[in-house]
Subunit: 187 residues, 2 copies
Amino acid sequence: MSLKYAVLAALLEGEASGYELSKGFDVSLANFWPATPQQLYRELERLAQDGLVRARTVQQERRPNKRMFTLTEAGRAELGAFAAEPPKRPMAVRDELLIKIQAMDGGDPEATRALIEERMGWSRGKLDRYRRVQSRLLDGRTEDEYLRETDRVGPYLTLMAGISFEQENVRWCERVLTVLRRRVALG
Amino acid sequence: MSLKYAVLAALLEGEASGYELSKGFDVSLANFWPATPQQLYRELERLAQDGLVRARTVQQERRPNKRMFTLTEAGRAELGAFAAEPPKRPMAVRDELLIKIQAMDGGDPEATRALIEERMGWSRGKLDRYRRVQSRLLDGRTEDEYLRETDRVGPYLTLMAGISFEQENVRWCERVLTVLRRRVALG
DNA sequence: CTCGCATAGTCAATTAATTGAATAGGTGTG
DNA sequence: CACACCTATTCAATTAATTGACTATGCGAG
């Protein structure tokens, strides 16, 4: 249900094709509302039929044509209404790793350690990418300066959420590794 | 795909009915692998057919009969194998609120503030429940003492993940509220 | 020159998830 | 004493998501 609004929100940044969304989604909305390319194409089609989005086909040479999508006024209005009302479903996390951790006892601690290291590396990478987006936005200014000057705080606030989430993730991994080391030592 | 293992992991705690899982899931595995009752019943049925779980019907008076499920050795083995190999899918977060925050600019800041307050209250409540589970587990001991004495660290480590996740959530909400207050003041 | 990847999608099949209702006695509230 | 909610599931219908393949061209590496 909310993919609809995620797509509309993504188009606040400007015109985009389904392909571009399915790529660039990765640095923003995909972090809290993941979607496959197929989902995006289907959703854009529906939005266009409902008049929330306008499509135009861009003829291209030496590459397939693409369809570019823009928010319509109706789309902007629907998104605004959505943004003001309370969420229908609470936030949900799905994390296979935590199932594995829950079930780790009795298994090989070395295998568990490897899983945690992998997650930690992944989170650090994500954090780096977030930080790069952040300094591109700040562009030399402090956070306070930026927030005073910009007209759109929304994207920055969600970026902050991503950053603190991954920071906490890394910290948790470190604590787990400490526990695992002690376990192995005391065997 | 992983619901299967989430259910098996839940049964590590001991025999349980579908109904109990659909309730008690809430204080542990449901936090990182949510499932509706219907999903659980279906999954338990499949697991029983695959021999990973054994079912027995418990006759009850003044209440509907229930089917209690236990892990079989085969189930335990499959779960152990699962726990040792790397996750197929990365962790995913789905959060409607963040879509609303992303799209908040131009809307009513007061409405946004209300949404954040709501989330903060919810996270604080979750945190309280986690902390109650934690002190029940610790039972007067320090964390270090507990981790040295217990044979199962897994559930405690996932509990730690939940606690630090919600703590960070509350902190993020506070930062957002600060930003919103400044916006309104300078607006 | 071939292999594979990037662009920019579409289509179809299967699997999974969501929603709502049905059953049926028991327990608690005003 | 009526109404709603708890226990404990099952069933069916619809909607959504996942997976893999298919089209077609261009570009760069080896």
